[in-house]
């Protein structure tokens, strides 16, 4: 069976010799990111507490690192890198668009309900 694997990650910065080598390489990458996340989560450095766009900087870092991990799981473990552009776009863009839309609406609404409580229209501190 002729299965073509694209063996480059980081836009060709790292090139693996075989598919198996690439799998281990990606595992190391994912482990490093997870370890960084856990360390950041435990020490919670002072600089990361500054608010950025309604959330702590640290939370944005976590979310970006998560998307980074998700990318490598999908692209290399699920072989999305080797699929044709049409399949890739049908799966990835559909999901991303709907998720962004849903989370925007729900988070916006959650913030609004918080304001309603906060401004004392409904009492709950008893």
């Amino acid at each position: 069976m002729a299965h073509e694997h694209k063996l480059e990650i980081f836009r060709g910065l790292i090139k693996f010799k075989s598919n198996i080598q690439k799998i281990w390489g990606v595992l190391i990458l994912l482990s490093i990111v997870t370890i960084v996340e856990v360390i950041l989560g435990i020490i919670k450095p002072e600089w990361s507490m500054t608010p950025v766009l309604g959330m702590k900087l640290l939370n944005w870092i976590f979310i970006i690192l998560t998307i980074f991990k998700a990318y490598y799981i999908t692209w290399d473990f699920m072989h999305m890198r080797d699929e044709v552009k049409g399949l890739r776009r049908a799966v990835v863009w559909t999901t991303i668009f709907l998720i962004l839309y849903l989370s925007f609406i729900l988070l916006q609404e959650g913030g609004y309900v918080f304001d309603v409580y906060d401004q004392g229209y409904i009492k709950r501190d008893f």
Partner: protein, 329 residues
């Protein structure tokens, strides 16, 4: 293939613009729909969290246990371990897929087996997490408004004043005149009630008055990102005026760590994910036996391993997000 040849088969599936087999493509689109289900749950979690942004439990203070290490404060280490187990089983799965491409039956068998073991370890760990969470550790008092009041005292750690939690069982003073659980067999027939909490608010109040250094901590998060600790007078006042029931552990109705919604979402989202892992393990076992009896060897194609692999990686992918939004953010 020229267009003329493909034309005739177009409506019979002759054209393959996505260059993927039917089964694999449908697995991808199932994954899309499942991903949307999970993001619906996580977005709902985000909604509730934004709604109670100033009073949400801090995950580091909730998940602090590690098996066999009692009384050791180990925030997140166990979840990090679970994450690693799942990523590792993803790796063995992708190695099995790769071995399948080379039609190497013995290697596929070994890697599938390792993947199943990883999945079982993960589900077991999740059961342990649930158990610890349901049992709870310190207990708390729930107020009439549904808020949670926890107990603790300031302890000197390396010259720094640190707030350490104190368990209700350590401070409560047992009183006479206990209320008996109402059972179905006496009084009103066939009307029962849930088992009573181990202590009454009255007993906790007496305990609080007897222990001069114990303070109450509310669920409101202050500017430093920590839960607000009340003064001694305010502590007693708060319990006396608003205390309604003693809560131990967490379930779908009450939660000693804070908002009951936190527990609801925890059970629902990790439960739904755990169910996915469980069914993934089942599918893997079926495929594993098919590999062992040589079904794919005769077919000269290990694509079924690839399809079930896609599902398995997806489960890992979801966990990466659950891990972030439940334990980190």
């Amino acid at each position: 293939m020229s267009t003329a040849v493909a034309e005739g088969k177009t409506w019979g599936g002759g054209n393959e613009p996505l260059k993927a087999s039917y089964g694999k493509m449908m697995m991808w689109f199932f994954i899309v729909s499942d991903a949307l289900t999970f993001s619906g749950f996580l977005a709902a979690y985000g909604f509730s969290r934004f709604k109670f942004i100033d009073a949400w439990p801090i995950a580091d203070e909730v998940f602090t246990h590690f098996p066999f290490l009692h009384g050791v404060d180990a925030p997140m280490y166990y979840v990090a371990f679970m994450t690693f187990v799942l990523i590792m089983s993803s790796v063995t799965m992708v190695l099995a897929v790769d071995a399948g491409h080379h039609l190497n039956k013995s290697k596929v068998t070994i890697y599938m087996f390792l993947t199943i073991i990883g999945g079982i370890i993960f589900v077991g760990s999740q059961a342990w997490e649930w158990n610890t969470f349901i049992k709870g550790e310190y207990g708390a008092v729930q107020t009439k408004g549904g808020n949670i009041l926890q107990f603790g005292k300031y302890v000197d750690v390396n010259g720094e004043q640190k707030f350490k939690r104190v368990a209700i069982s350590k401070i409560a003073v047992p009183q006479h005149g206990e209320r008996v659980q109402h059972e179905r067999k006496n009084g009103l027939w066939y009307v029962g009630e849930a088992s009573l909490p181990p202590y009454t608010v009255e007993e906790v109040l007496h305990g609080l008055e007897a222990h001069k250094d114990v303070l109450v901590r509310t669920q409101i998060i202050n500017e430093e990102g920590e839960k607000t600790v009340l003064s001694r007078e305010a502590s007693i006042e708060q319990i006396k005026k608003n205390g309604k029931q003693v809560v131990q552990g967490a379930n779908l109705k009450v939660n000693e760590y804070g908002s009951p919604l936190f527990a609801d979402f925890f059970f629902f989202i990790t439960g739904f994910h755990g169910f996915h892992v469980f069914s993934g393990v089942m599918l893997n076992i079926i495929i594993f036996f098919n590999v062992v009896i040589g079904t794919y060897e005769r077919r000269r194609s290990y694509e079924m391993v690839e399809k079930v692999g896609l599902y398995w990686h997806f489960v890992d992918l979801v966990w990466v997000f659950v891990f972030t939004f439940f334990y980190l953010v």
